[in-house]
Structure formats: C-alpha cells, structure tokens
Symmetry: C2
Subunit: 321 residues, 2 copies
C-alpha cells in the first residue's frame, strides 16, 4: 500500500513538474519615438503554449492552429530557442511544445517574440528556474534572430516582463522595467504584408542631428510621462520624426488613421513594431473603442481586411496558467 501510494504520488508529481502551460502576450515594439529601445506588452492577443520535458535531447513541435508554421525545430522560432537551451543543458533534456497561436505571424504585434519568450520562460520553469531573467531573454532572442535576422529584445523583454520595457543596450544586455500607466491600447492589423527586412532596409543609415535631438527630447518626455503618469506629456511625446515618416509609406491609410484617432481623443500612437499593425493609446475604454471605430472605417473604406483589438497594457508578461 505505501509502495502503491508512492508510485501514484511520484507519477502525479512528475507529471506536474514535467508539463506546463503558459500564456504569452502580444507586444508593441518601437514605441513611436522609442525605435529599437521601447516595447510594451498587451493583454490581447496572446498565444497559449504547452511544454513538456523529454528525456531525449530533441524538440517536438505541434502546431494547433492554421498558420502552417514549420515544425522542424531549426526553422521554428520556439524550436531554435529550445534547441539553444538543450545545448546549454549539455543535451541532457528535450522538449515537446504544443503551440496554440492566436497572434498572427507578420502582424507586427510580436508573434515571433511570443513564441520565443513563451518557450524560454516555460522551459526555464520546467528546469527549476536555473536561468536568470537576462539569460531567459538571451535564449528567447535566438528566436528573433531566426524570425528577423536580428537579435533584438524590444518585443522579447516586455513579453517576458510585462509593462513597458526599456532596452538601454543589447551589448551588454541592459533591460529596465518602466512602470506603465493604466492606459488602453487599440490595435488595428490591416491584412497586408510588410516584411520586417523591407521595413528595416528602407531606413536611412544616417539621420540629421537636429531630428535626432528632437527624437531624444520625445523619448525623455515619453519615459517621464510613463513614470509620472502624465498623460498629456505622453501624448505630446508620442511623435517620431525619424522612423515613422519613412516606414508609414508602407502602410496605406496611416496618416488618416493617426489624425482621426487623435481627433477621436486618443493620446497618440504609431506603427506597431515594423508594421503593418497600428496602435493608439487612450485614457479610457470609451475613447479606445471610438478609436477602433475610426480604424475600422478607414480600412473598410480602403477595402483592406482588418482585425482590431481594444485592450490594456499587460503588466505580467508570460504567465503560467
């Protein structure tokens, strides 16, 4: 009897320790004037990922969605993250991951980051939390490298930490959590394709010093606004004189949406990540919904299929459920 109980108990325990389910949120990177350094997590949309420890050093990927993402670990964002963790563990473990993706790939709201960050956080948890926050971020950045060719953390960091993250530096990694105010976020995803690599390529390698100065005034203003809960300052600082004027030409209707959303009361906003999604911040749900109506009207009139989200800033990051 004690023996039987022990077996039963071990099997329960092992099953609990070997499996985990996480919720991994969408994120807005390149927060207007904060190109490459500021990102923010969203409460909607999010992916669900189920991870299981395996005894063999392999990665098994099961996609439970209609996006036809690759299941070969080397070609899958979550896959490369888990492979890098297996390597660090000297090939003593492996992972099975079941992905229910709800964040559309290519939407510009951190779909690849959600897979990468979710996999890294979940794997670390299954391994007993042996890796530091920054190590988890580093593992997850391998997924971004696969997705966009560049190891960047402005989706990864807020996805893992929640709230608004400042990536002060990548080499060495220096991530700073910025307390974020209780703002509403409206996102529209027009169903057009903007390749991250194209969006990066059209940027000029040089910028005018006077524009750079204006930009860093806005960044300082935005961060101060977040820290002081000063909504008007946030609104005034949501201005990008360097990236947006170039990239917005890839997004039909951008100027009209931005103008009309601000007329509807939104504080301001811009391109989410490298697009095509556009986001706006608002102080109330009423304004956030009015903003959604404006976005829908413009894209419906332009005949561009679109998804919208009215949500809030996610303050938890990847969450074990």
């Amino acid at each position: 009897m004690p023996h039987a109980f022990s077996i039963y108990f071990n099997s329960i325990t092992r099953s609990d320790l070997n499996k985990i389910t996480v919720k991994s949120p969408g994120t807005v990177a390149n927060l207007v004037c904060g190109f490459d350094i500021l990102g923010m997590a969203l409460n909607e949309p999010y992916d669900i990922m189920h991870l299981k420890l395996l005894n063999e050093p392999i990665v098994v990927i099961i996609n439970k969605d209609d996006f036809n993402l690759p299941t070969e670990p080397e070609k899958n964002v979550a896959g490369v993250v888990l492979l890098s963790i297996i390597e660090r563990m000297n090939h003593k473990t492996g992972f099975e991951v079941v992905i229910e993706k709800h964040i559309k790939p290519g939407s510009g709201i951190g779909s690849s980051a959600a897979s990468a960050a979710g996999a890294a956080v979940a794997a670390n948890h299954l391994l007993g939390g042996i890796f530091s926050r920054d190590e988890v971020v580093q593992f997850a950045m391998n997924g971004e490298k696969l997705a966009s060719g560049v190891k960047h953390a402005d989706n990864i960091a807020p996805c893992i930490l929640g709230g608004v993250s400042l990536i002060r530096s990548i080499h060495p990694l220096d991530i700073v959590a910025i307390p974020s105010p209780d703002l509403f976020v409206t996102v529209v995803h027009p169903q057009i394709e903007v390749r991250t690599s194209d969006a990066r390529q059209i940027l000029k390698k040089q910028v005018l010093l006077k524009d750079a100065i204006r930009q860093w005034g806005n960044i300082a203003g935005l961060v101060t606004g977040f820290l002081k809960n000063d909504y008007e300052l946030i609104g005034r600082s949501l201005e990008d004189v360097i990236i947006e004027p170039v990239r917005s030409i890839l997004i039909p209707g951008f100027d009209e949406i931005k103008r009309k959303c601000k007329d509807a009361g939104a504080l301001g906003g811009g391109i989410s990540g490298s697009g095509p999604s556009v986001f706006m911040l608002s102080v109330s749900e009423t304004i956030a919904k009015a903003t959604e109506t404006v976005m829908k009207e413009v894209y419906d009139r332009l005949g561009i299929e679109n998804n919208t989200y009215v949500t809030t800033i996610n303050k938890k990051g990847v969450e074990i459920i």
Copy 2:
C-alpha cells in the same frame, strides 16, 4: 500724524516693492547623452543680482565684478532680457540692475543663463508676477540668443526651476521638471577658451542611426534613473556616443579625467555645456572630493590653471534673498 505715517509706510512699501535681490545658480547643460534637452542647476557657483524698478523705460547696468562685461543694455545678456520685458510692458517701466558675477563667463556652467534668468525672474517679481513660467523662460532666452546666437533653454530652464529640466521642445516651448536625486556634483573649470560657436560648428550635421539609437537608449535610461533614484542606472546611462567624441578633443585631459574620476568612484559625467568645464556626479561627498582631487591633479600636471567646485544639485532655481 496719520498722514505722516502713511507717507512713511508708503515709502517703505514702495522701496520694498521696487527693489529685489536674487541668487542665480550656475547650470550644467547638455547632460552627457542629453545634448540640447537636459540641464541641471548647481548650488555653487552662483551670481547675485540686485534689481530696481525705474520710472523711465531704460536699463541701467552696474557690474560689481572684474569681468569687464558690457554695460550697454543691447550688448549685455541681462540687458537684452530687460529690454524685451520693457518692450512687452509698452515702455512703461525700466530697470537698474547691479550684477555681482561669480560664475566666470565662458566657463560652460551657465554664466550667461544665470544673468538672463536672474534678470527675467527678478523683473517679473518686481512687476507682480504677471508673466507665466514659460514667458519668463522666453524672456530669458533672449539673453542666450545674444550670448551664443541660439535661443536655447537647457541652461535657462534649470536655472529658473532648479533640479533637472527636460526641454522636450523649443518650438513650441515644452519644459518638464524631472525630480532629481540627491547627488553630488564636482566641476572643474580649466582656464582655456572654448567658444560656444566653435563647439557647435565642429558637430556633424548628420549622425549614424545606430549611434542615435544608442543615444536615445541612454537618455531614456538617464531619465528613468533620475526618476527612480537608481544610481547604477544613472551611471550606466551617462554615455554620449555622438557629441562628446567630437567636442572632447577641444578639452585637454578629458579622457584621462573621465577615466580616473570613474575609477575614483564617480557615477560618470562629461562636458558641461559646450565646455571647457567638465562635471562628474557622485553619490557621496567623499567621492565627490576624491573626484575633485583627480581633476586638480590632471590639470596641475598639464600646467592648466583650474577652478573646482564640489557641490550638490540645486533644487530651487533663481531664489529671492
């Protein structure tokens, strides 16, 4: 008897209302990564200014120091500020100003801003405080225009407000007070001449986008550090990859001083304004004094006469005494 008392009382009152003495602090502009947007007020050195209302629309300037600054109002920093106020008042008043300057002109610690801001604040007070904060800043900026050819506010704003000021934008004027931590400041003024116009001219009109991104990461970090009292973050963020590499060649010993001050425990620092003064921030007076010793040693060895100050961040700005 009541009549006599009334005359006496009026004369006392008029005399009180017609005269004022202010203390106007030195300031550090271009706070490392915050070129053109961040400035900070110092408790030492400071100027003393005595202002008196006149019935005629004239400006009388009396210098009580050895700097031989011009006394023609049109050529004097305080003079042009007062002339612009007289113009706004429809030539219904005038001012006499006695200046005891202690902040050496050309030192890079806001000598002209102290004259301009002190004159503007004192005049506004004598006029019953009829002008708003931003109007006072605008009047004072006329002095900076005379001194350097450019209407800038990164000395004026902290001189008037105290603490650390963010000048998010000049057109339109958008000044944000940043709560500043209790840090010590060490300043060295090597007695060499760096013309603001030269310091401005050697800057490149264009900068690399990747450098601009690094700079705005540092600015966001510095502002966050000030707001969160995070000294380590302040230290890491006190890095300027754009202006300092160019301007520091005008300041002998700069690299050595910076390296040795940090070795002595200073958080970091850089060129004050457009130089030649160099400043360092420290968490304790002991470190601030060790920093002073380093500065003195380097300039004494180089045979360059120098003044030093060990002080703290001034949180009051121009003060009526």
